[in-house]
Every structure is written in structure tokens, then in C-alpha cells.
Amino acid sequence: MLLILSLVLGFQLPAQTQLSLTLGRSQQDNFLTHLNVSQVVNDRLSLGFSGQFGSPNLRFIEAKPIQDEGYAVSLALPGSFKLTESGKTQVFAFFQLGYRWQGIFDPDGNDMWDSILNSQALLGEIGLMVVRELGPRLNLQSGISFPIAYELQPTRLFENMTTLIHAGLFYELESSALLYLRGTMGPSFGASGDSQKFLWSVQAGMAFSLSGSVQSFTFPTL
């Protein structure tokens, strides 16, 4: 539904609009899908909207684990700013501000969906990303970021702060479309050590521009 909505919205937006769809697996999710629609505001600035759905592998509510069950949905407003460009290298600063809903449908384990345990959290991320041209169609994207999660309900607690390193290869199919494969990993801390201690992800995706050439920077998943 989100995909269809975003595609419809995307096609109604003016030029210089970019879509990206990412599928992947992570420490947090057995399966995740992430859709981003971003608008190139000018030479340097892009702003967007993204949605993500994950089928949890290991997540936390009130700093207690939920494992291999439930859902995790998030919406975010990402933005990127090209700091500098020199030769074959571009450097972007990026941020994301998001909100996450996650839960399980059978917390008491009686095989009936007669109760629900869920949580809401504020998400944020800042980072720096380098895009380096390796060949006529191939780019390397690598960088660092600091994602955070702050649970608002049912308990207010600092769920996680992570230092992530990123690495990805982006292959340009044509000037308006590219395929990518990327990974992230890094140490994580929060909730007095009760939540994630290390995050990783592997992701594959496709980005395309509705007109003009596709921008080489794409937003990471949350």
C-alpha cells in the first residue's frame, strides 16, 4: 500500500524526483523493505520522505527483546547536502528524522491475538557519506553515521545509539536508474546495555529518477 501510494505521489511530483526501493536483512529485521522518495531541491540539497517495514529478527520494547515475531514500521524525513565535490569524489552530509511503530500480536503466548504489545519511538540519524566514481558506471559509496532511537511509549528510554560504517557499490544501468548493494555495521549501546549491542545490515536496491539523471547518493535504511 505504501509502495503504491508513494509511486503515485512520486509520479505526480515535478522533475528531479528520485525513487529508491531497498530490500534487505539486518540484525533487527529478518526482512526489511524501505522506500524513499526524494526531491532534488538544488545542486546540493535533497529532501525526501521514506517508509520502512521490517519483520523483526531482534528488536526491543521497554528494553526487553521481541524475537522473530511482530512488525516494525517507520516513517522518516531524510535530507542530504552535498558538502564538496572534487574530481571523482562527492561528499554528502545527511540526516533523517523518523518515527517508529513496532509490536507483537501475542505477547502472552496463548496463540490468540487477544492482546498486543507495542511501542513508539523517535528515530534520528546524522552522517557523512563519500561517493567515489570507480568506473564509467560504477560508484563506491562509503561513510559513517550515528543513528539513535528513543522510545516514547510505553516507557521513555534511550533505546540505542550506534556508530555505523557504510559500504556499497552502485551500478548505473542507465543515466536515470541504478542498482546497488550495500552493507552497514557498527557497535551499538543503549538502555543500560539491555538493547542492541551491534547492528549490521545487507541491502540491495534500485534507484531511479523520474526525469534527468539519477543522483548517486541514496539514503540508508533506518
Binding site: 540484525q27 521497554e62 528494553a63 526487553k64 527483546p65 547536502f81 558538502l83 564538496t84 572534487s86 574530481g87 571523482k88 569524489t89 561528499v91 552530509a93 546524522i126 552522517g127 557523512l128 563519500v130 567515489r132 562509503s142 561513510g143 559513517i144 550515528f146 539513535i148 534511550f158 545509539m161 556508530t163 560504517i165 557504510h166 559500504a167 555495521m185 557498527g186 557497535p187 551499538s188 549501546f189 538502555a191 543500560s192 546495555g193 539491555d194 549491542k197 551491534f198
Partner: protein, 219 residues
């Protein structure tokens, strides 16, 4: 939260300086992996550094963060629970070690032929501890696992200290001067850090580690 503020300030500083386009000020971003030489094993480490370069890349100033995280280090450690207690029917606790640092990095840099050498000097904060793993994270009464870790380890399951680190790294340019592969050796001091498992603090204090780095930098 303090670490987040340091990172935010550093990122802002980095962004502003990159915008200033001063010819003698550049930037670097350097993800790294590595290992830490403990008494009887090598711990796996993931980290990153980023910041600015001055005097035509002769001095780096930035932030370094890395962690020897428990989930990528399967080595387990055993200790008797405090005060004769038992946890899930056993008086012996089986633990993993988890660690992270963040600090200010200053690295004088010089070149020997095509190889760039730097001397990374770090002062920062370090936090590390020992935690229950696997089924032991399911507590008998449904309380958070940190409550039981505190109880079983007399409130000293983790500790914090200042970190001092010095080292030497070598960087080889790849294809062009804006990407370099690096390798380094570092010596860490964590005075005052101690935990219930390791009251002397030798697990991290006076330790050697190595790093393998991909450094992106301005020319």
C-alpha cells in the same frame, strides 16, 4: 548523550569547514576494522574516524570511535556470582564482553615516498562491561536483564574511564590520492576502569590493537 553531542559538534564543524573551501583545510572519513590483543585472544573491533586536515594534510583533527562489541566476539568468560547468589540455578555466571570508546583524535601526518604515516593520538571516554548471553538474557522474573546483571555482579557489571591511545598508521594511496588503504598499531590505556569480573582492569588497560582502514580524504 554526551558522545552524541560530541559527534554532532564534530560533524557540524566538519561541514562548515568543508564549505569554507579554505585551500589548506581538507577532510577525511575513515571506516576501520581491527583487533584488540587481550591476554589470551584477539577481540574483533569495528570503528570509524572523521574530521579535518590542516596544513596541506599534515595534521588531522577529528573524532575516533570504535567498539569491541559482544555479538561479534563469541569468547565467553566465567565468574562466580557475588555473595553466593545463583542465577538460573547456577552460581557460575557465563558472560560476554562489550566495549566502546569515543574520543578526540589528533594525528600529525608525514609522507615517506608514496606512503603517508600518521601518529594517531586519542583522548576520550571508554565504557565496557560483561553481560549475560543467549538464554541467560531471559530473566527468571521478567525484569530487564541489566537488573539481574547488576545484582549478580554486585552493581559492577560495567565500568567507565578515560581513554588514552597512541599509535602509528601507514596509508597507501589506491588509484588516486583521495582513497588510501591503511594499517596501524595502537596502544590503549584505560586507567581506573574495573568491573566485577575484572577488578584489576587489565582486560582493556595497556592493550595493543591493530586497525585496517579505508580512508577517504580531500586532495
Amino acid at each position: 548523550m554526551k558522545n552524541l553531542l560530541i559527534s554532532l559538534l564534530a560533524l557540524t564543524f566538519c561541514a562548515l569547514a568543508a564549505q569554507a573551501q579554505a585551500p589548506k583545510v581538507g577532510w577525511f572519513i575513515a571506516p576501520e576494522v581491527g583487533g584488540m590483543f587481550h591476554e589470551d585472544h584477539v577481540g574483533r573491533v569495528v570503528g570509524t574516524s572523521f574530521g579535518l586536515t590542516f596544513f596541506q594534510n599534515r595534521l588531522k583533527v577529528g573524532v575516533l570511535g570504535y567498539g569491541r562489541s559482544g555479538p561479534i566476539n563469541p569468547r565467553e568468560f566465567q565468574v562466580e556470582a557475588a555473595n553466593g547468589q545463583t542465577y538460573r540455578g547456577s552460581s557460575t555466571l557465563t558472560l560476554r564482553a562489550d566495549h566502546g570508546i569515543i574520543g578526540l583524535l589528533v594525528a600529525p601526518t608525514f609522507k615517506v615516498g608514496k606512503v603517508a604515516l600518521d601518529i594517531p593520538l586519542v583522548i576520550g571516554n571508554m565504557g565496557a562491561g560483561f553481560y549475560f548471553e543467549g538464554e541467560d538474557r531471559n530473566t527468571p522474573d521478567g525484569q530487564r536483564v541489566s537488573v539481574w546483571e547488576d545484582r549478580m555482579m554486585d552493581g559492577r557489571d560495567a565500568g567507565f574511564s578515560i581513554l588514552y591511545e597512541g599509535g602509528l598508521r601507514a596509508f597507501w594511496p589506491v588509484k588516486a590520492e583521495d582513497i588510501a588503504l591503511g594499517a596501524g598499531l595502537h596502544y590503549s590505556l584505560t586507567p581506573g576502569w574495573s568491573t566485577y569480573y575484572d577488578p584489576e582492569g587489565g582486560f582493556y588497560n595497556q592493550r595493543l590493537r591493530f586497525s585496517l582502514v579505508v580512508q577517504f580524504q580531500s586532495r
